[in-house]
């Protein structure tokens, strides 16, 4: 081999390494525009995987739960950080504003005693002044902005943060506390704040074998990496209308990341997270097409001891029993269901009909995210509680992410 041929070969390897992975292995690992795709072979590593995954286009940390104050007032809450990947790398610009990601934060507090639903949102680019997704301590990127790095070094358990909405001082934060997650948010304009700490009562579970959650049928389905903490003992404070209330209760945490968008035929999804009184937890989701027919469905049952069984689409059924028309957006949402999972039948009812979140930061972003109660099949006795998310309803709008 001449030195010239050697050089050509080296150059070839180098180029191969720089090319998007799908060009190297048939398009399985990366999207056409170079984002990493979810894989059944994903090598999970905790606690590292609680932190962000920049090579993937989208990622979210989703906490929902039921809380009760000492005086008996009951609340439902939601806290979500979305990471929207704009670029795969931080652009090479000599400015702190050069950003790779966008952070969207949503928080909601439903006062089940008074029947009021409060929603708050933020949208910032991830840059040292506004928002960030710190690297896990062991994976620090040396090139990260000095200030941000210093700030994040001082807070090694921080998963994501952003400034509170304009008009409110403070920061929204999400920490991994070793056993669970701590969250803080505040919005003076919307008049509520959350400061909650959670501890896992059940171990982490993968949603889908190996944490690979397919979102369609077929040999190369759209998918995400997906895991949950289905029972998180929760305590902390809720501020509402100037009152600070000590609360405790139970939460559910979902973490998903991936790069696939909904398939073109899919219009939205119905998603259920239910904590049953007998110690079992159930996650179900249904992806609908534009006619409302089921395009794809999947689920997971976690028994009281943490044992997991995955459900195929034909192993459960969800039937809507009522609808609710939003006075805010005109969208018509299902508002009550009967579920059949194996030999168990359950009735699910919203604890409040109007739990719709209507975003102002991104045009046409609205969805229903609400606290529900679970009753046994006669619809009378308490069988559990949970949260339901309904997207893609109203004027045929598809969720952007």
């Amino acid at each position: 081999m001449t030195s010239r041929q050697l050089a050509a070969l080296c150059l070839g390897w180098l180029c191969a390494g720089l090319l998007p992975a799908h060009a190297a292995d048939g398009g399985a690992d990366r999207t056409e525009d170079g984002w990493l795709r979810a894989s059944p072979q994903y090598a999970w590593s905790f606690p590292r995987d609680h932190w962000s995954h920049p090579g993937y286009r989208s990622e979210w940390w989703y906490l929902t739960g039921h809380l009760q104050a000492a005086d008996g007032r009951r609340f439902g809450y939601q806290f979500t950080f979305f990471r929207v990947g704009l670029l795969q790398e931080v652009p090479d610009l000599d400015s702190p504003w050069g950003a790779r990601d966008l952070l969207m934060g949503h928080a909601a507090l439903t006062d089940l005693s008074s029947g009021e639903h409060h929603f708050s949102e933020v949208l910032y680019r991830a840059m040292p002044l506004l928002a960030g997704f710190p690297e896990a301590a062991a994976h620090k990127d040396a090139a990260a902005h000095k200030d941000a790095a210093a700030q994040e070094d001082a807070d090694p358990q921080l998963l994501a943060w952003c400034l509170a909405p304009a008009g409110t001082s403070g920061r929204w934060t999400l920490h991994f506390n070793g056993d669970g997650f701590d969250l803080r948010m505040m919005d003076a304009g919307a008049g509520f704040a959350l400061d909650l700490s959670t501890t896992a009562d059940k171990p982490l579970v993968f949603q889908g074998p190996g944490g690979f959650s397919a979102k369609a049928k077929g040999p190369d389905p759209g998918a995400s990496q997906y895991y949950s903490f289905t029972r998180l003992r929760t305590s902390g404070h809720v501020v509402l209308g100037g009152d600070t209330l000590a609360v405790d209760g139970s939460s559910w945490m979902d973490k998903e990341f991936g790069s696939d968008k909904l398939a073109p035929r899919q219009a939205g999804w119905d998603w259920f997270s239910l904590q049953l009184a007998d110690g079992r937890d159930i996650m179900l989701y249904v992806l609908r097409d534009a006619d409302g027919a089921i395009d794809h469905a999947s689920g997971t049952v976690i028994d009281a001891a943490g044992g997991v069984s995955y459900l195929a689409a034909d192993e459960f059924a969800i039937e809507s029993t009522a609808t609710w028309t939003s006075p805010h957006t005109g969208a018509v949402y299902p508002s009550g269901w009967t579920l059949r999972v194996g030999d168990v039948s359950l009735v699910v009812r919203p604890l409040l009909q109007d739990q719709e979140n209507v975003g102002q930061r991104v045009g046409d972003l609205f969805y229903w995210e609400g606290a529900v109660q679970v009753l046994d099949d006669d619809g009378n006795s308490h069988a559990g509680s949970g949260y339901v998310e309904l997207t893609g309803y109203g004027s045929g709008r598809r969720p952007g992410i």
Partner: protein, 848 residues
């Protein structure tokens, strides 16, 4: 009576078509001048507001630095304050397109690059999903252009556009075409919007912005939020409302706008003279008609109404013609004014002309009102007369003849009183100069009849020569006085402004001669002057200092600073320690040797004359300025001459400036070469060797020429207005000669019967035209000299604080005199031809 009004008007028009046309034209020109200037005045302000509106949307408050830029780390503080619904950081930077077609400064295509955070709720008409913004964020140089500019330049999405920003050449990519003008119709088409990260890279100042716009939450109290922000952000910032910003700009432009308005009103004034004279002439001619009407029973009121009605129709026609003419000339001249504005005030150029209906209404009211006002005195006079007097064959000429001395006394009285008032204390009022100018322009016409009589009275007449023509002007004061007076007003404006502009130009040349001492001047090509962001790379000064043949390097830094009273002024830092520095600024007050030593070694400052006069700051006083560390006092060591339209500056040593403002950027570098080296040759060498084409490298000679070019561009608009006035005045000459040709029909017929040739009569009338031109010149020349003195020593001092050395532009006087005489002759050709056609058979007609 109404029917009679219609018939009489029609007959009047038929009877004197050219007379009628001239009168209408006079009103039209006056209206057009006023309208055009008002439109331009408004557009100049709107241009500034329009561009801000497009990017800032409906910001309720704007946070600005009292120092050149603002740290973006203030943003979280702003966002966290109660009542704030959104905070939008903005970076503004000027750029110039780097291409052969735009290489010369005259053809330069300047862009206004605005950096915004694409993820704050800016009102950009963005059509895509957030993901589509990836290119805007990640692609170096990605920029959104207006479709208008892209179309003009033939750019399409994906094209690269090389631009100069500071001393660097960068490549912008046309990433999207966004119609900012749909958001704000007056936004400049040269607006370019980039993501804030890109803007900071272009500016070379990561972490800094120029302003933060704040949108308030619904129901938030603006004053309270502003006060809270000031408390939170400290003394380094100013929090202003959009209105306050506009007011500041309006204040900045007030002097310029006032000058333009004054000039346009003079045009209208001259136009009114024309209407007055025409009405007077037509009334005299129709004296018998009114006598008949009165004797048939028409009341005085009816006659008055008839006359004023006719004049209103005349005014209306003038307005109908003047409005489109005014709009058209505003459009045609907007570029000229735009250049003046960008030169003088570094404002956005005027991109579009928008006219609210009220402006048209205002101009129409001025036109019709002016015509009626102009005709009121002759009309009242005519309606009051006894019918017998109107019908008798007596002429009115002796009336004004008899009045001439009294009118002159009145004129002298006005001039004297206004002078006394000024000396006795009026001068303390900023607008006093305009009172003097108005008094002069009012007094001058009053002096005209008497002057004509005095000048033409002693003439001896031998035959049909020029002497006879002049004498006849003196004999027909009623007609000639008005034309001469109108011409005199126009000429005095022409002469006065010429003297002022030429003196100014001359002073500026001397000033440039003494202050432009370096051999080569280096500045960023996109830099439009002090107060703009446009930096030179820091190592460029070192690189240039090491260049063969360079003896010394003088560095300049300039930006807007704020006094303790929050007034904006220009802060200039130079290397005062250089041996040549003392020559760069000639001092009005203060001993140069000690002054420059103190500035260099003891942190003293020099203040510009304009600032010194405006703020009454002199040697021994101190200027108190905001620095990042709070307010600091700087003692004044001297006052230097400057010609800054924006309120003057403070000059300090570059070291003092860097120490107090922690700013080491540069806007300009001056090179001193070894004796014997040709600056132009070195400029060429530097151009070839330096990788930076983004620099303006000007040799001493070129810089002087450039400066004078800019000056000439700036005053182009005043020359235009002078032209309009002169045109109106010349119309007056033609009009009066037509009137005379008509009035003197029987006299001319007599001459013809006595054997005069047509040629002689033609010559007589041309002589009259020449005579009017000459008399207008004499009176206007005298008035013009006084007006020049008022402009130079009172108005310019009061508004700009400039010291202008008086300079007599004899050559241009000569040129102007010849032009006026030639134009008067040209204006008299048609009336002379008409007069020469008078047949001897008209002898029987009664001379009216």
């Amino acid at each position: 009576m109404l029917r009679f009004f219609g018939r009489s008007l029609a007959a009047h028009v038929r009877g004197g078509r050219s007379l009628f046309a001239l009168t209408v034209f006079g009103v039209a020109l006056g209206v057009a001048a006023v309208l055009a200037i008002q439109i331009i005045n408004r557009s100049s302000l709107a241009a500034f507001e329009g561009s801000m509106q497009a990017v800032s949307g409906e910001a309720d408050l704007t946070i600005l630095g009292r120092t050149p830029s603002l740290a973006d780390s203030l943003l979280p503080v702003v966002l966290g304050r109660p009542g704030v619904a959104a905070a939008l950081p903005l970076v503004r930077l000027p750029a110039a397109v780097a291409s052969k077609a735009h290489a010369s400064r005259a053809n330069a295509l300047f862009l206004d690059i605005i950096g915004v955070d694409f993820f704050t709720p800016v009102r950009l008409p963005w059509q895509g999903a957030p993901g589509d913004l990836a290119a805007a964020l990640g692609q170096r140089g990605w920029a959104a252009f207006t479709p208008t500019l892209a179309q003009q330049q033939g750019w399409t999405v994906g094209d690269s556009v090389r631009v100069w920003v500071g001393s660097r050449e960068v490549c912008l990519v046309v990433g999207a075409l966004i119609d900012f003008q749909s958001l704000s119709p007056l936004a400049s088409s040269k607006l370019v919007v980039v993501d804030i990260a890109q803007a900071q890279v272009l500016l070379g100042r990561p972490g800094f912005v120029n302003q933060i716009d704040v949108v308030l939450a619904e129901g938030a109290d603006r004053e309270r939020v502003a006060a809270d922000l000031i408390t939170q952000l400290g003394a380094g910032v100013r929090v202003v409302t959009p209105q306050q910003r506009s007011t500041q700009t309006a204040g900045l432009l007030a002097a310029f706008r006032l000058n333009l308005t004054a000039l346009s009103l003079i045009s209208l004034f001259v136009g009114l003279f024309l209407v007055y004279a025409a009405t007077q002439a037509s009334l005299v001619r129709r004296r018998a008609e009114f006598g008949t009407l009165r004797s048939l029973g028409a009341s005085r009121g009816q006659v008055l109404a008839l006359i004023l009605g006719e004049v209103s129709v005349l005014g209306l026609l003038g307005v109908a013609l003047g409005l489109p003419l005014g709009y058209w000339s505003a459009r045609a001249n907007v570029d000229v004014v735009s250049i003046a504005l960008t030169n003088l005030y570094l404002l956005d150029e005027i991109a579009a002309v928008r006219v609210p209906l009220s402006l048209y209404a205002q101009a129409a009211a001025i036109g019709i009102g002016g015509a009626v006002l102009g005709a009121l005195i002759p009309a009242l006079d005519m309606s009051r007369r006894d019918p017998r007097a109107l019908l008798s064959a007596f002429t009115m000429h002796e009336r004004i003849d008899a009045l001439a001395p009294r009118l002159a006394q009145l004129g002298i009285g006005i001039l004297g009183l206004s002078g006394l008032w000024f000396v006795a204390g009026g001068q303390r009022w900023q607008h006093a100069g305009f009172v003097l100018a108005v008094a002069l322009l009012a007094g001058l016409p009053l002096l005209t009849p008497w002057t004509i009589r005095r000048l033409t009275g002693p003439l001896r007449v031998n035959g049909f020569g020029l002497g006879y023509s002049l004498k006849s002007l003196g004999a027909r004061l009623q007609s000639s006085a008005f034309a001469v007076a109108a011409l005199a007003v126009a000429v005095s404006m022409l002469v006065g402004i010429s003297i002022m502009v030429d003196s100014f130009r001359d002073t500026l040349e001397v000033w440039i001669q003494t202050t432009v001492q370096a051999d080569i001047y280096v500045s960023p090509a996109a830099w439009r002057g002090p107060g703009e962001e446009g930096y030179l790379d820091r190592d460029l000064a070192r690189q240039l200092a090491a260049w063969p043949g360079v003896l010394a390097v003088d560095r300049l830094r300039s930006f807007a600073a704020y006094t303790e009273q929050d007034e904006r002024l220009m802060l200039v830092g130079v290397d005062v320690g250089l041996p040549v520095a003392s020559q760069r600024f000639s001092l009005l007050l203060g001993d140069p040797a000690t002054a420059f030593q103190r500035v260099h070694e003891e942190g003293f400052v020099l203040v510009g004359e304009t600032l010194a006069r405006r703020k009454n700051l002199w040697v021994g006083d101190e200027v108190r300025l905001y620095t990042p560390a709070g307010i600091r006092a700087f003692p004044i060591a001297g006052v230097y001459y400057d010609y800054d339209a924006r309120g003057g500056g403070v000059l300090m040593d570059l070291r003092t400036l860097s120490a107090h403002w922690q700013d080491d950027a540069l806007n300009g570098i001056a090179l001193y070469l070894q004796p014997g080296l040709d600056a132009d040759v070195v400029v060429d060498q530097l151009r070839a060797a330096l990788p930076v084409e983004a620099l303006d490298l000007l040799s001493n000679r070129r810089l002087r020429t450039e400066a004078i070019n800019i000056f000439d561009q700036t005053f182009a608009v005043t020359r235009l207005l002078q032209g309009i006035s002169l045109l109106i005045a010349v119309c007056g000459v033609a009009l009066m000669l037509l009137v005379m040709a008509r009035e003197q029909v029987s006299e001319l017929a007599l001459y013809r019967a006595l054997g005069s040739t047509r040629r002689q009569i033609f010559g007589l009338f041309v002589g009259k035209g020449l005579g009017m031109g000459g008399l207008g010149l004499v009176l206007g020349g005298a008035g013009g000299v006084i007006l020049a003195l008022i402009l130079i020593f009172v108005i310019n001092r009061a508004y700009f604080g400039w010291t202008i050395q008086l300079h007599w532009p004899w050559w241009s006087f000569g040129e102007q005199a010849l032009t006026i005489l030639a134009t008067s002759v040209a204006a008299s050709l048609y009336p002379a031809w008409k007069a020469s056609r008078t047949p001897a058979t008209e002898l029987g007609r009664e001379d009216s």
